[in-house]
């Protein structure tokens, strides 16, 4: 096992105001079979402030599936496949080499070309180019990392995606959206009352969340690009636990009126309230199955909280999903629909459990004692969750096979309520 620390410093510029929101990412463990790969600095890289090769290297490294080779001692640093002297890279024991070049287009945008090359076969596996504005350099690098990851592992990457989380700093509650590597954190909400349960719309353009700013929990939908925030559920009592339907049209929410929490669906723009569950106990934490047919949820109808499912249209039969353990809550699906993660009370420790829905086998994945808010990466490979170090909250992630672990922490304050969003288009 090895531990290496990546400090994620924000670039100095207009984002310096949220410099405190940079997540520190630390990786522990890794897959036993790591592909040795070299990412060569891109040609003309000095013309821009973002180091594309470093961003790509860091992404690949953090996946735990690659061993990144140091290129600084190499006699030649090629910027395209034709310049590669293969014996030099074979001597470094590289299986794959990434080369690239940056040029400026007549309209001021940048053109990024890159090749992923198989050293043994001495031929390119990928040859692509991207046109971008300089300010989107980081996201372009993440997209390149996704292409490389998919070509070499056969699994789609999830680097070009974003996460949401809440930071409590003093008495302020901030809802942040950041890139998957913790950079580019931007504050969506800054409130003196709690904000919980952020939930990404399936297209990544909106986030639903619960804000206590009116002295009670109310569900808002916030459009990221415009900052427009709209109350979508403000009924008598509590309004909480928003979850999007896969088509982005409906939201499952939890309402109480004067009684216990029950699940309803509403239009994502508000209104058209429909009842889904009717019980005397607690029904909460709804999650739509990726096919949209089911709502999985937490209920204490059997005495202890367990996960159940029912038809998303409501009124149907309710059947129990979890049977091991006396406390299983917060169900969340993998986007491919094959797995369910939730929080189990394991002898006083609240840990992330993953249930394989094809064979119902359950595996405890996280090592904390107060872990919460699990959510899957868009490629269904990694689970992001909130954990606690002493009295301070931070975030962590674990690969679905438990082999690769990351810890994501803020320099200050308390971090919680994580949610991994969909891929950026």
């Amino acid at each position: 096992m090895y531990i290496i620390k990546f400090m994620t410093f924000l670039t100095i510029g207009f984002l310096s105001l949220v410099a405190n929101a940079a997540l520190d990412i630390e990786i522990t463990g890794g897959d036993a079979q790591q592909t040795p790969i070299a990412v060569v600095p891109f040609g003309n890289a000095k013309s821009m402030k973002e180091d594309l090769a470093k961003i790509i290297s860091d992404d690949l490294y953090r996946s735990g599936l690659f061993r990144l080779l140091n290129t600084s001692g190499m006699p030649n640093l090629p910027i395209n496949a034709a310049q590669i002297k293969y014996p030099e890279w074979a001597a470094l024991q590289a299986q794959a080499v990434v080369v690239g070049n940056i040029s400026t287009l007549s309209d001021g945008r940048l053109n990024v070309t890159f090749q992923l090359v198989d050293v043994l076969k001495q031929q390119p596996l990928v040859d692509m180019d991207f046109q971008m504005q300089a300010k989107h350099a980081r996201m372009t690098a993440h997209k390149i990392a996704d292409v490389i990851y998919e070509k070499l592992t056969g699994i789609p990457g999830a680097f070009a995606s974003r996460i949401a989380y809440v930071q409590k700093l003093g008495e302020r509650h901030f809802l942040y959206v950041a890139d998957s590597d913790g950079y580019n954190a931007q504050s969506l909400v800054n409130s003196n009352e709690p904000v919980i349960s952020p939930s990404w719309s399936p297209d990544g353009s909106k986030i639903a969340y619960v804000s206590f700013e009116k002295k009670k929990p109310i569900v808002f939908v916030h459009t990221l690009a415009t900052g427009d925030r709209k109350i979508v559920a403000n009924y008598k009592g509590n309004n909480s636990a928003p979850a999007w339907s896969p088509d982005g049209i409906r939201l499952a929410v939890v309402l109480t009126y004067g009684a216990n929490s029950q699940i309803y669906t509403i239009n994502a723009t508000g209104g058209d309230l429909k009842s889904v569950t009717k019980s005397r106990g607690i029904d909460t934490e709804p999650a739509f199955s990726p096919d949209g047919k089911w709502i999985y949820f937490t209920s204490d109808r059997g005495g202890k909280p367990q996960i159940y499912k029912t038809s998303a249209n409501g009124g149907g039969e309710v059947s129990r999903v979890t049977f091991e353990g006396a406390y299983n809550v917060s169900p969340r699906f993998s986007p491919d629909g094959t797995k369910l993660v939730y929080i189990r009370n394991d002898g006083g420790r609240f840990r992330v459990a993953m249930q394989d829905l094809t064979n119902e086998q359950v595996q405890l994945l996280s090592e904390g004692s107060q872990d919460e808010s699990p959510s899957f990466s868009p490629n269904s490979r990694v689970i992001l969750y909130a954990t606690k170090k002493g009295a301070r909250g931070s975030l962590a992630s674990v690969s679905f096979d438990g082999k690769v672990r990351q810890s994501l922490s803020e320099a200050r304050g308390d971090v919680r309520e994580s949610a991994w969003g969909p891929m950026l288009k």
Binding site: F14, L17, S205, L224, G227, T256, T284, E285, V329, S373
Partner: protein, 185 residues
């Protein structure tokens, strides 16, 4: 009756003024807002990498209702505590609930909010529901003592007001409570 209305509107005005004052006091946050506007002003993009935010400052009003706040009056005892994962009202808190039931029946214009809370163990949303279940338990007790539904609102803060430094049950116990709040006081 007319008198009561006047007092009410005075209280409302006082509340409005105090909210204004708080809004002014919170000007440090304006710096953030201004800076955020700057970032938000950058053109939004097709890949959605820019986001726009909101800064929220709210505040509750404060005033006085002597009978409710007199430390020698049981009505000033506003917390009902619960066992772990339980919504059962313990016998020691029956007198508190009964005193508030009497007050609410004597003051039919008074409204009360029962604010449920949980300790931080478990998930925030489940604890929000658990806090709600506790507030419903107190509401049911008040209903049985003759208080009208129209006077009671139940709401939950879940674990949002819990002490993050708790390590033992004495500490967790203090977080598992329903607070009886009179919104107009």
């Amino acid at each position: 009756m007319k008198n009561a209305t006047t007092i009410y509107s005075k209280l409302l005005i006082a509340a409005a003024i105090s909210m204004l004052l708080v809004a002014c006091k919170s000007t440090p946050m304006k710096d953030d807002a201004a800076v955020e506007d700057k970032s938000a002003g950058s053109t939004s993009t097709a890949d959605g990498s820019d986001v726009k935010g909101a800064v929220i400052d709210g505040s509750s009003s404060d005033g006085s209702m002597n009978e409710l706040n007199d430390p020698n009056n049981i009505l000033s005892k506003r917390n009902i505590y619960f066992d772990f994962n339980s919504d059962a009202i313990r016998a020691e808190f029956r007198p508190n609930v009964e005193a508030h039931a009497q007050y609410l029946q004597a003051h039919t214009n008074a409204k009360v909010t029962l604010q449920g809370n949980a300790d931080e163990r478990g998930t925030r949303e489940y604890n929000l529901s658990l806090g709600q279940r506790r507030s419903v338990a107190v509401k049911t007790a008040l209903n049985l003592l003759g208080v009208s539904d129209s006077q009671i609102e139940t709401v939950s803060y879940g674990e949002e007001n819990a002490n993050p430094a708790c390590a033992d049950d004495d500490c967790f116990q203090a977080d598992r409570r329903v607070e009886i709040v009179y919104p107009n006081e």
